[in-house]
Symmetry: C2
Subunit: 202 residues, 2 copies
Amino acid sequence: MNVTQKTQGLTKTPKTARGHKTLRLLLDAAAGEFGERGFHEAAIARIAQRAGVAIGSFYTYFESKEAVFRALVGDMSAQVRETVAPVILAAPDRLSGERAGIAAFVAFVRQNKALYRIIDESAFVAEDAYRKHYNDIAEGYAASLTAAFGRGEISDSDMTIRAWAIMGMNVFLGLRFGVWDETLTPEAVAKVAADLITNGLR
Amino acid sequence: MNVTQKTQGLTKTPKTARGHKTLRLLLDAAAGEFGERGFHEAAIARIAQRAGVAIGSFYTYFESKEAVFRALVGDMSAQVRETVAPVILAAPDRLSGERAGIAAFVAFVRQNKALYRIIDESAFVAEDAYRKHYNDIAEGYAASLTAAFGRGEISDSDMTIRAWAIMGMNVFLGLRFGVWDETLTPEAVAKVAADLITNGLR
């Protein structure tokens, strides 16, 4: 994924394809380093080493460990949205989109297990980035629920509360059935959860 | 609330009413200290001071900062369950119980804002206690959903997946509308969320 031009924490936005590639390598290396060691034990030198770039390249883009951590939270947040949103939108209607979206999220988590540790740690290390991550997802989600209501696909209600509820559902299903235990397929988890979202417990 | 006999991290279970009271004071003081300062900055001496007990009393019950932190996670977990479960059970049926349970949880969070910081930090400091917290709640929840199915109050499905989904919903609604922003009443949040759980988006 290309790094968004609005990524927080970036000293400089890359202008060349090579610059984009270096930044991508640094963010992926940062995900590995922060995911394994946590913020406090992570080291800039090891991030550069994992990325296979000189430490000077690190400082071209980030001024500190906190800066790269913030950029990483924003990058992971964008990756989640860019993975799940198109899957929901590609579905024939919102309700089948929910199912596909949950499956895509659980599958994404299995490939990106550092996600939870990094987002959860951001609550302590960079709380504004933590709030922005969830607020951005919830806002996008509420907007798409409102659009689905406009198309007559779902009932009326407070879409912000619904968005937070469904986001929480996804986050916990991803933790339990993506990170902790991979016994069930993402589709099996999504089938039950989407049925709950669509039809409720009745 | 009385401290459960099975509280993790306890060196000794109090046998007298006075001992129970001291332990309760220590755990409440620990909630304040860990909630304000986080695990790494928290100090045993300050926990004892906040509790108004001698430091020797602290060591009667806990052998370390990690031990009191573990005990606190278990205690908060029990408080959540003991606050929400009776409210759900007192309702005339499971579905109205959901609504009352969500409102009770959001109200509890507003009175216990340290809850999120402490549970979230346990993912890093005492991951087994973190997992146990959510696993215990989900297990109890799944069992009560299975019972409600047995009474014909809800439809059949995988109750473990449903339990994790609804737990996640509650956790995120508590964060957003309990900790971050108190504009809405707990009942207003619960009305929308319970309608989602009951009837789905259709």
